[in-house]
């Protein structure tokens, strides 16, 4: 039995994790360190290995190679019930034959903690459900079940709390509300949270650090702002928000910037924001950083300018309009314009120029795959 349980979170370290299932490799080679008390999000599309990573940390799956350390202690060979880890499952996995209170008290009873019902009631108070303590889980709504699952895990004060897309089944409004609550609870209890999700907004909104996972490997890791501002690979640029990406050979390199030639027109990016400085390079810019002009503007060298192109799609999304502009030689460029009445009034089929500041551009370490292009 696990004996050490702490009031505060502990750090988690994964060393060279490799996981092979019959027929495919789920995790290639994963190294990860999450400091104690941090809200860490593992973000990636379905099938990228993020849930498998979580199950390996919980002990529900065994890694083919590599080590799992919690609070510096090697738990690779420990059984799930011997690890100071609790999981909030995607499907909640509440025990249908027990009351809400008994569900929450389950872990305490197994560890023979004194006064399990009082502590369980306290945990239910934390998620504001103590009035439903005697109900059965199937009598609760999805959001309430989600909170019970959270209370059932939190009550054990695990060194590490694992969240497996716990908000996936909730509707948008409830989801946003739970995100705020979850973050508040994490701050309050000071535990280490490892949150697995495919929802980039959720990850950016809640996590201190986000790791973007793709095909069994972590592509990039960092604070949400940093990841969004400077994605380093084409996958991250497109999975975390949207990006316009242009590929071309580097034709000029000076102290501050690099320029690529794209169909005769030049596009520049700051050197310190670029991963590669020679050969074939992909440069990108976020759609909200770009603007378009009805007439060719007169811009200084701190701007990139392409065009003219034809507006082939306009989508109204409430706070902003999304324009899709087909610029010959560059493909389709997406531009977001806030609905604040400043954008030029344009119609489908209008010809426009697109510009953005060089300092907003970023250079990627790889080239976008054809499949990524189609997806975008």
């Amino acid at each position: 039995m696990a004996t050490e349980f702490v009031a505060r979170g502990q750090d988690l370290e994964l060393v060279g994790i490799h996981k092979e299932f019959p027929g495919f490799t789920a995790i290639e080679n994963l190294d990860l360190k999450i400091p104690a008390g941090e809200f860490f999000a593992l973000l990636g599309p379905s099938g990228c290995g993020k849930t498998t990573t979580l199950r390996i940390v919980a002990g529900l799956d065994e890694a083919s190679r590599g080590k799992v350390l919690i609070g510096g202690k090697d738990v690779t060979a420990s059984k799930p019930h011997e690890r100071p880890v609790n999981t909030v499952f995607q499907s909640y996995a509440l025990f249908p034959h027990m009351s809400v209170l008994e569900n929450v008290a389950f872990g305490l009873r197994q560890r023979k903690v004194a006064d399990p019902l009082a502590k369980a009631t306290e945990a239910l108070q934390l998620v504001e459900l103590e009035h439903l303590a005697l109900r059965k889980p199937q009598q609760l709504s999805g959001g309430q079940q989600q909170r019970v699952a959270l209370a059932r895990a939190l009550v054990n004060r695990p060194a590490l709390l694992l969240l497996d897309e716990p908000l996936g089944a909730l509707d948008l409004k409830l989801r946003r509300q739970m995100q705020v609550e979850l973050k508040a609870i994490q701050m309050e209890v000071g535990l280490t949270f490892l949150h697995v999700t495919h929802d980039q907004e959720e990850a950016m909104d809640m996590a201190d650090t986000v790791a973007v996972m793709n095909k069994g490997e972590i592509e990039q890791m960092g604070a949400p702002e940093a990841l969004y501002d400077r994605p380093k690979t084409a996958f991250v640029a497109r999975f975390l928000g949207q990006s316009n990406i242009f590929v071309g050979d580097v034709v000029e390199e000076n102290d501050h910037s690099i320029s690529i030639s794209c169909n005769g027109q030049r596009i520049a990016a700051p050197k310190k924001r670029s991963e590669k400085h020679s050969g074939k390079v992909a440069l990108g810019v976020r759609p909200e950083k770009a603007t378009f002009h009805a007439d060719k503007p007169d811009l200084d060298s701190n701007h990139n300018l392409v065009g003219p192109g034809e507006i082939i799609d306009i989508r109204f999304t409430g706070v902003s309009n999304q324009y899709l502009i087909d610029v010959p030689g560059f493909g389709d460029i997406t531009v977001f314009a806030q609905n604040v009445g400043k954008s030029p009034v344009v119609e489908l089929g209008a010809h426009v120029w697109v510009s953005w500041k060089v300092e907003h551009a970023f250079g990627l370490s790889d080239l976008p795959l054809k499949a990524d292009n189609d997806e975008a």
């Binding site: 529900l60 059984k79 019930h81 389950f106």
Partner: protein, 264 residues
């Protein structure tokens, strides 16, 4: 008038079918109150005597007791074994799993005469004298498949993530089984046990081959039928029927109360 299938034909058919099934049961019940002199075939006179003195013919109650004991013991054994097999088949991949699945259907598909005779020959071969325990062995053999099939259906609906949640919440293997798996399988296990009990209690063919001098209730009734069944047999038959109906009704009422409570 327009001929309506739903309005006339179906209700008539159902009523007739119902009467047809109920007649033998009603007959047994009514004739348990018959005053009997020689045989219980013609109605003589109403009496409670048979019910009040149902063990007057000691053979009847002895046979009944044997059947009860055999049914209870074989049900306990086959339910325990069958549940374990059902969980293994439903949850784990192992060598010979599909073969086991197939073999389990054999006892259900094989004619009872063949099974009964085959087993009797084996008892003869190894020199075991037939009696109470050979009947138990025979009954475990043929009820086991039914238990496995019934419990397996329940295992299939059991979300493995619930057991994972248990493991995650500090429960070791035996706690996970007794606090999560077993309670969730219990309705299926109970259904399997009742089925096994009923099959064992009224089995005649396999029992006939493997009982030796031991008498069971079906065996007694069969032998007695040649001379006219004693009214005590009717009493016991009716009693079993009433108890079974009562159990079913209690379960139904409890389930509907529970459903009502859940909706509230």
């Amino acid at each position: 008038m327009k001929f309506s299938l739903g309005k006339w034909l179906l209700p008539t058919y159902v009523t007739l079918a119902f009467i047809f099934t109920m007649i033998p049961i009603a007959y047994t019940f009514v004739f348990s109150f018959n005053k009997v002199e020689k045989s219980n075939i013609a109605w003589k006179e109403f009496t409670f005597d048979n019910w009040l003195n149902m063990c007057d013919q000691p053979v009847v109650c002895e046979a009944f007791g044997n059947s009860l004991a055999i049914a209870v013991i074989s049900t306990l054994i086959s339910t325990a074994l069958g549940t374990a097999i059902a969980i293994a088949l439903g949850r784990y991949k192992f060598k010979g799993r599909s073969a086991t699945n197939l073999l389990l259907f054999l006892p259900m598909a094989t004619p009872e005469v063949v099974m009964g005779a085959g087993l009797a020959a084996q008892f003869l071969n190894v020199g075991i004298s037939k009696g109470f325990w050979t009947i138990v062995v025979a009954h475990v053999m043929f009820t086991l498949s039914f238990v496995v099939v019934t419990v397996k259906a329940r295992v299939a609906t059991l979300d493995p993530r619930l057991e994972e949640a248990g493991r995650d919440l500090y429960a070791n293997a035996s706690s996970v089984f007794w606090r999560i798996t077993f309670p969730l399988l219990l309705p299926g296990i109970m259904a399997a046990a009742m089925l096994s009990f009923a099959l064992s209690f009224d089995d005649f063919i396999i029992t006939q081959f493997n009982s030796g001098p031991e008498t069971t209730f079906p065996k007694f009734v069969y032998t007695a039928a040649a001379r006219g069944i004693p009214p005590e047999a009717n009493v016991i038959g009716s009693l079993v029927f009433i108890v079974a109906i009562a159990i079913v009704m209690i379960v139904q009422v409890r389930a509907s109360l529970k459903a009502k409570k859940l909706r509230a």
